[in-house]
């Protein structure tokens, strides 16, 4: 009985990968544990081992094939002695090997009443006034944009260094620091032990002396161990010293829910850090914003919390080709112009907002999307101007509802644009529960496109 060997997933968020190399050839006998092939994604490489004993009857996906979707059959394994030709004939052939380089669509599934989400949108970067007219754009992933931002700033200023777990020799737990060790050496790309509290404090101490550390947390969940140093030391010392001693430091790493990693590894800390005077909190969505804002963050003399998202790392966006592309911290961006309703969101929340806007367009509702980009200081003016135009607003975030970023936005709109509102402002948030592991429960715990659509319809009385 022939068995299909399927393309494995290297991580909970992996959608596709490259079949780098076969180490066995057709006709080879294999036993469990034998390495059959090497596969890789942009962040990791792994060996595919045989699970069953048999003969490699047919290789379906050849060496060097890119964009092989997870669970695609990549080979057929026949029983020893089985007729190889009939084994191959009985096996499924992959009908979709080379996928377009689409964004992952994790956690977008919505309740049955909601129409299926459309294909991942092409995000047109609205150059606006931030990029000179006619600037060439190149597609790159958020991951590459972040890496380029760090590399450019490290070339520019010898005081900039990056430290964290697995940032150097491993090339980054999520491959965001890929290549930095090779270019800048171990002095400036510092692997730390697993010791968040300690290395966060070391980073802050170094920053007190004028160095500009980039402290990578493997995820912001682990920064909970370090939050005392971030808040009590980094954020408050400038004030406590009467302006003498600041901490020019960037704390960065993936924030929010990844996929299927349960409660301790899935939490959005945007609201937490945004509550603290003395910090700036940045949460980009697109690769261009990730690059321009990280470069600005590294140059900023204040402590910056730079919240990334694991699911966005692999998504591609157009990024301006400029020698020195920076963006101002504290400025929101109108991602999409519209006249009927404003959606305010940031980071991963933008993916729901954008898809919902496309759905709503079909029903004649013209949505304006404000991408906050910076949570603190919050660009209240841009939010209020949009709400004054549309008269209706909802917020979208993956964080908890209570004391969330949405709650803050609602309060500011109420204080500054109450008379312009034609409906109460609604919030779409993560649910008020620790993140569950089960796939169905996790989907329910996260916001989804259907909820955004419903909230927009509620405030537009549709």
């Amino acid at each position: 009985m022939a068995i299909d060997i399927l393309m494995p997933a290297l991580s909970p968020t992996m959608e596709q990968g490259k079949l780098a190399k076969w180490l066995k050839k057709e006709g080879d006998k294999v036993k469990p544990g034998d390495v059959l092939a090497e596969i890789e994604t942009d962040k990791a490489t792994m060996e595919v081992e045989a699970v069953d004993e048999g003969v490699l009857a047919k290789i379906l996906v050849g060496d060097g094939t890119d964009n092989v979707a997870v669970n695609t059959p990549i080979a057929v394994l026949a029983d020893v002695g089985e007729d190889l030709a009939s084994a191959v004939a009985s096996a499924k052939m992959p009908d979709l090997v080379a996928l377009p380089a689409a964004a992952p669509v994790a956690s977008e599934a919505a309740p049955a009443t909601v129409p299926a989400a459309p294909a991942a949108p092409q995000v047109a970067y609205d150059a606006g006034t931030e990029v000179p007219a006619g600037t060439e754009m190149v597609n790159m992933t958020v991951r590459e944009a972040l890496r380029d931002a760090m590399a450019e700033e490290m070339r520019r200023d010898g005081n900039v260094f990056v430290m964290g777990e697995e940032v150097a020799e491993y090339q980054g737990a999520y491959k965001v620091t890929q290549g930095l060790l090779q270019e800048f050496g171990a002095k400036r790309v510092v692997d730390t032990p697993i010791t968040e509290h300690g290395f966060a404090g070391i980073g802050v101490g170094a920053a007190f002396t004028g160095l500009r550390p980039i402290v990578e947390f493997m995820t912001f969940n682990f920064a909970m161990q370090a939050i005392d140093q971030i808040i009590n030391s980094a954020a408050k010392t400038l004030y406590m010293s009467g302006g003498q001693l600041g901490a020019p430091i960037v704390f960065r790493g993936p924030n929010g829910a990844a996929a299927r990693v349960a409660a301790q590894h899935s939490q959005d800390f945007a609201a937490w850090y945004s509550a603290i005077p003395g910090l700036k909190v940045v949460a980009p969505y697109s690769a261009a914003d990730a690059k321009g804002l990280l470069k600005s963050a590294i140059r900023d003399p204040n402590p910056i919390i730079f919240l990334e998202n694991e699911i966005l790392y692999g998504q591609s966006f157009p990024v301006p080709v400029l020698d020195d592309f920076t963006l101002p911290i504290g400025k929101a961006r109108i991602h999409r112009q519209g006249k009927d309703v404003t959606i305010v969101s940031f980071g991963m929340g933008m993916t729901y907002a954008i898809k919902a806007a496309q759905e709503l367009e079909k029903e004649g509702i013209d949505v304006e999307i404000v991408d906050l980009r910076t949570i603190r200081p919050m660009d209240t003016d841009t939010i209020v101007a949009s709400v004054m135009k549309t008269g209706r607003c909802i917020t979208v975030e993956e964080g908890y509802p209570q004391s969330g970023v949405g709650a803050e936005i609602v309060a500011r709109i109420m204080e500054k644009a109450f008379d312009y509102l034609d409906a109460p402002v609604l919030r779409v948030t993560g649910k008020d529960v620790p993140m569950p592991y089960a796939a169905n429960l996790e989907k329910l715990a996260l916001p989804n496109v259907g909820e955004v659509v419903q909230a927009v319809k509620a405030v537009t009385y549709r």
Partner: protein, 353 residues
């Protein structure tokens, strides 16, 4: 006081406070306490006396309601910071916790500015926004002044990291108490400091009580010089009441760190005469214990005796020194009492650059 009694006390002192070094489990003998020359004794006397008188004045002003909140006095521990400071060179940094007035004075920070910070006035070193626990001076390389027990250990290790990064030859003295020595981040920092051979000297000021909890009730290993053993950091126990012993140990530690060999731990066996803070009723120790330490081991009295006996200074000459110190402290108190509070507009300054 009778000389004989003092001599007896001195003998008791050296017996109670042994000077030993260890690397891993192997202890090695260290040189005997060196003698100070006259100028060293005079300098140490001046510095320690300034801290003592300053802290006494702080206590008075706290009692008068001029100083608010927490106020942790350094009285009794003066030899530690003064001896260590004598072992440094310009450019070396200091960072400590919240019992920090003595460290600031020893670093050469202006007594007026320190006192005015205690009273929350605009002429305070932090413009009145930091208070007793939070003062800093980039000019004097003093990095605070930190209120979270143990946080300064990671921060000081980071300052040493920056020294190493810049290869500037400076050493960071990182002070903390026997209480902070049980915090987790201390050991995270020890690990990285030795791993990366950072130029940091960890000065553990063991004053026997973490607030009101005696060392023996809080610490499974009460020999703090051994706290770096599992990281291969050498350590010594030092008679922290004898400024000469502190200085000698400080020189060894600073030299070790500066030469690229990595961190060094000094356990300073010292004693605070006053409570943990001003509101401390000190029910956890006997009055006798405090009296005995004051009478038999006082760090200032030890130097005073040498000035009189070995260096043949007269009581009158010491009175002149005393008078000058009192003048500095009184001026500081005067300034701190009459300097205006910060302008209300300062509420919203210095949050971000």
């Amino acid at each position: 006081m009778a000389v004989a009694a003092r001599k007896a006390g001195r003998a008791g002192s050296s017996a109670a406070n042994k000077s030993t070094a260890n690397k891993g489990s192997a202890r090695k003998a260290v040189p005997n306490t060196p003698q100070f020359d006259k100028s060293q004794d005079l300098a140490a006397y001046n510095e320690m006396l300034l801290i003592r008188r300053f802290e006494e004045k702080s206590g008075q002003m706290y009692g008068m309601g001029l100083i608010g909140g927490f106020c942790h006095l350094y009285i009794g521990q003066e030899a530690v910071v003064v001896g260590m400071q004598m072992a440094t060179k310009p450019g070396d940094q200091v960072i400590t916790g919240y019992r920090d007035h003595g460290h600031m004075l020893a670093c050469g920070m202006d007594a007026k500015g320190v006192m005015a910070e205690l009273t929350g006035r605009r002429g305070g070193l932090s413009k009145g926004k930091g208070g007793s626990m939070h003062m800093f001076s980039k000019e004097k390389h003093f990095y605070g002044g930190h209120g979270i027990v143990g946080a300064q250990v990671s921060l000081g290790t980071g300052i040493a990291f920056a020294n190493r990064y810049r290869d500037n030859g400076n050493v960071c003295l990182t002070y903390f108490g026997d209480g902070a020595a049980n915090q987790g981040q201390v050991y995270e920092s020890f690990n990285m400091a030795e791993l990366w051979k950072l130029p940091v000297v960890y000065v553990i000021e063991n004053n026997r009580y973490a607030m009101g909890t005696a060392v023996s009730r809080a610490s499974a290993q009460t020999d703090f010089s051994k706290r770096g053993v599992s990281f291969n950091i050498p350590g010594e126990q030092v008679d922290g009441m004898d400024v000469r012993a502190v200085y000698a140990a400080g020189q060894r530690a600073v030299e070790h760190a500066r030469s690229g060999k990595g961190p060094y731990i000094l356990e300073m066996q010292t004693y605070r005469y006053r409570g943990h803070s001003m509101s401390d009723p000190a029910k956890y120790r006997t009055k006798d214990e405090v009296t005995r330490m004051r009478e038999e081991h006082d760090p200032i009295e030890q130097v005073r005796r040498r000035l009189l006996e070995s260096w043949k200074l007269s009581e009158d000459e010491l009175k002149v020194i005393d008078g000058k110190v009192r003048e500095i402290v009184n001026e500081a108190a005067e300034f701190a009492t009459h300097d205006p509070e910060p302008d209300p507009s300062e509420l919203y300054t210095d949050i971000l650059l």
